[in-house]
Symmetry: C2
């Protein structure tokens, strides 16, 4: 509530200032705001986005720029004068710069990289060389390092010299003359030590590091389990390449979350905010899976065709088709999302497949029995009120519905839970076994189960 | 790869040491490992979990304890001698202690709180007083604070005095004599300043804070947008109550992810790892929604019953029922997960409903047209090979299938996208409009659409 009032005031102030065209006052006003508030301002006044960025102190402009959506970033770069773009890009932390550049067309990247100073250009080209979604892309080369033979006083001197340009000084890195990572120390331990103490006396020898080619999701796990605000990144020879800071992990988590959710819903990962993605691109990301599922689902028409004679003899059987197959689909979606989620957060590994199977066997039987029981009761109760609805064979029909449900739900649960594990085993992304995918798979087999049970109970009676 | 080899060696070493029963050697070995490695060891040797914790230096034991699963934590507390439990609980950071205690039965919480020292007891009781999933539950009262009239030298003295017990010294908090939060400064700025400089000269007046009753998800957004490693938490009178550190946000993100995924799959949030939750509890979390969906899906049998005569006259209509309704369900699941995800990460707000509706209207028509076209072709092609399959009215049947698909997919897309927004508007969790829920909703209406289109094309011909 108070936040909204604040924003309202801020927006009003901003409007008044913009009207005055007093550049100095605008600059002063913008420099007084939190970067998240400036970002809000840009959201509220897209027409002024480039002007806002251009009017801020460059280090604050880059702090705001890096938290904007990619579409806003693109618009701003398009509008900014080249000199300002150069200034902004050079000031952006290397990791955020990579993050922005990788979203652009190759020709634009080339033009923008030309604006960078030689050092920054070299760094950027090397970071862009790492695979997408790898730790290398998140790396920044701006950190403070010292040697084991340095003293605490040396560390303070180094910090004073390099702190301005380093992303964090919460952790200090110790390397040897070959450039290999030896250890890291927290600034806390440096402050607590006397100035003449050697760094080699402070280190604890417990170093946790990432590899530049590691997956970003792995990095997120290592951060979670090790209580650090930054982690060093090394190559295969243990040479320190850069560091990754924990705040990047919040963005990684967000991205992984969005991707997994979208895949579970049966879409390709959008990689852009829903409202920003061009409509035709959105369509392309969605139609692929829908067509695949549709082609799969066509088998239901084939399966139904196979039982056409039975349906003609007992139309009543057709009435329950949607109920039966959707119950299988629902229990399958449920099981698959449970397993995909548990694998995503590392609660289940491939080695657990047997434990999962046993759990789902019991769960499937229990869930199926409950739904089967309700289905049986449904037919019986309707019969008692409308005796003509199902005729004298209502008991066989009720049994068909009840037992089919047990079978279909059990089958849905088992295939829904095993499919993500099998996909992972094959090296594919388990989230591909989306809810719609499992539902489609279960629909086709569900029909076969249903009509087989029907033949069992109704052969010689209705069929 | 190298990690696995390392673990193997570590595990082997551990086994040998455990066999010797040399407590001192075990302790030394455990103190040499990273906390994430000790956690791995506990996963691998659950029989020794309490022994491992008991044999570590207490500050390291608590670092390991706080990253374990709740079920492991419970087991360890059950096995540890009371004196050790008391030591461990007193050493645990206040926020992690709250996190652990809130998972236990009330009677156990009471017993454990008795083991705490008076100060810690007071803190714990106050933290447990905040609502679940609120920022208050994540708070720690262990931070370093100074006054605006202090000098940089004073800050260093304060840090040396309190750094041991404070969760982070990366940020220092400035309060006034009333205890109100004035500002925060990063340790970097303190180190860069001369010792006699006043704190009031360093502060920038841009303070970002959280309220104890704020939602944890909100906190995560504030961290993402403000590039801080810790944020202060205040009450409604701006009194500084504690701080929240960014590492907690990774756990919050994980939890939100799991909850949203589970809800989208049509399960209640498990709040426990899949493999740890007792089977009956897992069953209870799943059966609720399945029964609700099943009862909803029963309407399909009623809807089908309504068209029983039509089916009897044209059995061929029944063949396409699963294909038609599942296409609506798939496009609905797709749309709803897209919107739920976009709302979860803040890309879409309630105010955007009209933009979403327009996008989905176009998307739904496009997606429906593609599937409808394929459906039409499917019937035509089958007819050209097997002219008896659909008889002389194949064109009308193909049209029925094609146009129904356009209608059903459009309807699925629209209801799938609007439902999460409507739920949010009503104050409910949008993730409740799970893929199975939308699919069920669309199944029933899809049948009505299909048979209505059929009547349009086949009235007087087959019907």
């Amino acid at each position: 509530m108070s936040l909204e009032i604040e924003q309202l005031n801020m927006a009003e102030q901003f409007e008044q200032l913009i009207a005055t065209e007093d550049k100095l006052a605008i600059r002063e006003f913008l420099n007084d705001q939190n970067i998240s508030d400036v970002a809000e301002l840009i959201n509220a006044y897209p027409d002024y986005e480039a002007q806002i960025i251009a009017n801020m102190a460059i280090n604050r402009a880059s702090s705001v720029f890096k938290i904007l959506d990619i579409s806003q970033q693109k618009d701003i770069i398009k509008e900014l004068p080249t000199a300002k773009t150069a200034e902004l890009l050079n000031d952006l932390p290397a990791d955020d710069r990579t993050d922005f550049l990788e979203e652009l067309p190759k020709a634009v990247i080339r033009d923008l990289i030309k604006l960078l100073e030689p050092d920054e250009r070299k760094i950027t080209l090397s970071l862009l060389g790492y695979p997408e979604d790898s730790v290398g892309r998140l790396m920044t080369p701006d950190y403070v390092y010292v040697y084991a033979h340095n003293t605490v006083a040396d560390v303070f001197a180094t910090i004073r010299k390099y702190a301005k340009s380093s992303e964090t000084i919460d952790v200090i890195y110790i390397i040897n003359e070959k450039g290999e990572l030896v250890d890291d120390i927290r600034i806390r331990d440096v402050i607590l030590a006397t100035p003449d103490k050697l760094i080699s006396e402070i280190v604890d020898g417990r170093v946790v590091s990432l590899k530049a080619n590691d997956d970003q999701e792995h990095a997120s796990q290592v951060f979670k389990m090790n209580n650090r605000v930054a982690l060093p990144v090394v190559d295969d020879n243990d040479i320190l390449l850069g560091i990754v800071t924990i705040d990047d992990m919040l963005w990684v988590a967000n991205e992984e979350f969005s991707e997994d959710m979208q895949k579970i819903g049966g879409t390709e990962a959008l990689n852009e905010p829903y409202l920003d993605i061009p409509l035709l691109k959105l369509f392309r990301k969605r139609i692929g899976w829908l067509v695949v599922l549709f082609l799969g689902e066509m088998l239901t028409a084939t399966a139904m065709g196979y039982f056409e004679d039975e349906i003609a003899k007992a139309v009543v059987l057709a009435l329950f088709v949607p109920l039966i197959i959707s119950s299988g689909g629902n229990s399958g979606s449920q099981a698959s999302t449970l397993i995909i989620q548990a694998m995503a957060v590392g609660e289940i590994t491939l080695a657990d497949w047997w434990r999962v199977l046993r759990r789902e066997l019991t769960s499937g039987l229990l869930l199926g029995s409950v739904l089967g029981f309700i289905g049986f009761i449904r037919v019986s109760v309707w019969h008692s009120f409308l005796p003509n609805l199902y005729g004298k064979h209502w008991l066989e029909i009720a049994s068909t519905v009840g037992f089919s449900l047990v079978g279909v739900v059990l089958w849905g649960t088992l295939s829904g839970s095993m499919l993500p594990i099998a996909l992972k085993k094959l090296g594919a992304d388990p989230a591909v076994s989306s809810a719609p995918f499992v539902a489609t798979l279960v629909d086709v087999t569900g029909l076969v189960i249903y009509f087989s049970v029907a033949l069992l109970f109704l052969k010689g009676i209705l069929l």
